[in-house]
Point group: C2
Chain length 233, copies 2
Amino acid sequence: MHNFFLPDLSSAVVQLSEEEAGHALRVLRLPEGEQVALVDGKGTTAVGHLRVLGKSDANVQITERKIHTPERAARIHMACAPTKQMDRFEWMLEKCTELGVDRITPLLTSRTERAHLRMDRLRKVLVSAMKQSQRTWLPTLDEPTTIHPLLSGHLPAQRLFGWCSGKHEPIKQVYNKEQDVVMLIGPEGDFTEDESTLLREHAFRATSLGHARLRTETAAVASCTWMNFAQGT
Amino acid sequence: MHNFFLPDLSSAVVQLSEEEAGHALRVLRLPEGEQVALVDGKGTTAVGHLRVLGKSDANVQITERKIHTPERAARIHMACAPTKQMDRFEWMLEKCTELGVDRITPLLTSRTERAHLRMDRLRKVLVSAMKQSQRTWLPTLDEPTTIHPLLSGHLPAQRLFGWCSGKHEPIKQVYNKEQDVVMLIGPEGDFTEDESTLLREHAFRATSLGHARLRTETAAVASCTWMNFAQGT
């Protein structure tokens, strides 16, 4: 059954976005009355019948609705520096979504070379990864931010950052799977000494992701994997 | 210092391959006498001085040699079905190399859609990922194989495969970090019932990588991450 994203599934008949309707009718060529699955990215899925109203215009008569509880007890918030090559950052977003990240913040640090991100494009990556991996929760994607505003916002008590220089305890030692976490991953060239000091002043703890020098997107996906599997359900 | 791959670092003066020499001289424009780093992918690194012999012809006079012990006690062998889109398989190779995989077997299953792989291209992905991540060990890349020959070859006692259908214990429960492991990841559509039966007959144990339906390359990178970090050094 084909799966469509719709932020609001509360009413009995729901209107597909032009994009989703176009995909259903012109790409998949689904006929009138076809049974389809819907997900709102907030834990609700539904099943219903497609009603064709126009070339890129369709709604769905919902026959069945299901509310899902979050699959993990503790939330995972990744704040990751955008990579020079956009496809690597998009790959990170896709993988972290498959691997159950709850919130993603593109983090602009002193050594971050890319400040502008096409957020619309990044959101599409998240939605399609959520649909493809059959998750029901869409990760929150924040606007790109520098470190200071991030620190002044609401963050969980468990605060980690990957840092290459110096010796730090591996993530398997420091990560507490019982608690919400925010994990910071720096850009190519890593965080500066000043940034590391600032983070420590805000109760962030440096952690090691192994001996190898991981690419930014690899460090993000690997730490998200560990924190997700550690809660292993 | 720039890093070059050379399978044999045993002699005092070593000849760079045409490719590495071309990269050093034409791309990086390194001058005569420049200090460079070398790695053989078998645990030896070296430092030496570049000698320019021609446009794409150079050797290195080795001044210093270091032998590294493997960074982990237990080896990780991933056997993964090639993906339809080659770039996804290459991502998997790059990430698993960064994350310390020891051996990779492209696995041809009943539902694998791609049988032909450009091995030369895949090897280049491994070499550049090894150099970039500053690893000293190049993963072994096997020729693509079907399941039967893989099973008749030498495999470690710890044998796992990711399987979506049915309920299986999560990898954090089943993986024993003290032992070498071979982990099989199926294609889109997963292993067939027959393949799963065959694997169980050969002492393979099915394991879960979580509730979400992970893409093939995600499942491979995520399980490699877990097994690497579990040995966490």
